[in-house]
Amino acid sequence: MRHLDAEALRALSAGEREEVAYFREHLARPCEECMDFLARTPGPGLLDGQVDELLLHLAPPREEPRLDEVGLARIRRALRGRAASPWRKVAATVALAAGLAGLVLLTQSQLRSPRQEVAWDGVKGDGLKGVGRLSLELSVVAHGPGEALRRLDPGAAASEADVLVLRYHATEAGEALLFQQRGNASPELLGRFPLQAGTHELEGPQGLVGVSLEGESGPLTLWLVGFPSGQVPTPDEVREALTRGHLEEREQLSIERFDLRVHNRQNPRPR
């Protein structure tokens, strides 16, 4: 008795009559060997996808899906040749959590530093604050390979080997969108995160968030945009607002900007 193998599949795909007739009969009953081969072997053609499509549509449809903005942002980023994967970055920095404990006081004192609090006026600049109920402040620490965590001041230089950990202070619980902007390019969404009242590191569902600078070069801006829960703007609205500065009708947003300059081998730090 013959069973499916690569050669048989090729013959079937070519429509060889004898093979078609034989396997039409042979497959009329469950055949463990053929099933095992089919389970291990992709195709032929789109058959695997059609099988999955059929099976996955057996269940009752769920409610109309919402757009996963963060996932789409990752895909757009990868399509532009930026293969960095934010969730991998997260995993890479979870181990930093213990090291951060020693930095809490430093960053807290930085958070308490006398930075000017002004209402968002549509013009980008350091220390911009929203006038909504949620107020947000941001500080950044960098971790390079083989070195301790160091606090970054706005406008500081960082290395492409650094991973940035964000620490925020929120006056109440809410949510935040984190964007990254290279030079004058459009801000790219890195993720959406819950905010807790008080001072905390930015965390996502997988743990502590770290922003890898791998592959970056030149001026880079991080935007952390906070908003009260239940008043969620779309990332496109926020991106548009960040780009054009039209936030007059978005007073519930609290916007924190952090500029830095990334150096790499092609773009070394000036000595």
Binding site: P42, G45, L46, L47, V51, E53, L56, R62, Q206
Partner: protein, 194 residues
């Protein structure tokens, strides 16, 4: 169960994306992601990070090749084929069964579906339901019912619910799926290829 109208709408978005209309990519992603995520929920050994990475890799490959997709109506099947291959490659690399530079190749966008779309869908679904009904009462039937018919729990959650290892759940699902694949191949041989 899939609505034929929804399938036609999806095809329209595929055509618009193939013409380079940016919002169409968002819409394709919004509409198809739950199905891709559901497929990957059957791969219990993949953790949440890995699932997200596979989803990203799937869409990057699909969106790059979309303009060459010969049969827009086959988008969903093509996308799921890519997702399955990416998940399997990831799992095999994890178990070191496959070298890092090796991977399962995706179906070409020029591929045409073996089964006629939509026309036989209802009949194919009836066949699958019958095959599920005919499974002997036991753990495999329970697993298949929970994952495919109820469609709420992931393979990991089913493993927890049934008190078995997560690989056992994935193996049961793969075994049943192979049975369906055999049946669909036989139906293709009995019809279109002769």
């Amino acid at each position: 169960m899939r609505r034929v109208g929804a399938s036609r709408e999806l095809t329209e978005w595929v055509l618009r994306a193939a013409r380079g209309e940016e919002p169409a990519f968002s819409e394709l992603y919004r509409r198809s992601r739950p199905l891709v995520a559901r497929l990957l929920a059957g791969f219990a050994p993949l953790d949440a990070d890995e699932v997200e990475d596979v989803i990203q890799e799937t869409y990057v490959r699909a969106f790059k090749a979309l303009p060459r997709l010969k049969e827009p109506a086959a988008f969903e099947a093509w996308l799921l084929s890519i997702a399955r291959n990416r998940a399997r490659t990831r799992l095999e690399r994890k178990s070191q069964a496959r070298r890092l530079d090796e991977e399962i190749s995706d179906p070409q966008p020029e591929s045409t579906p073996l089964l006629p779309e939509a026309l036989q869908l209802e009949r194919d679904m009836a066949v699958v339901r019958q095959l599920i009904d005919e499974l002997p009462e036991g753990e495999e039937k329970k697993t298949v019912h929970l994952f495919y018919v109820e469609g709420q729990l992931s393979a990991r959650e089913i493993a927890e619910k049934l008190g078995v290892g997560k690989s056992a759940v994935t193996m049961r699902l793969e075994r049943f799926r192979a049975r369906i694949k055999q049946e669909l191949l036989r139906r293709v041989l009995a019809g279109r290829w002769e």
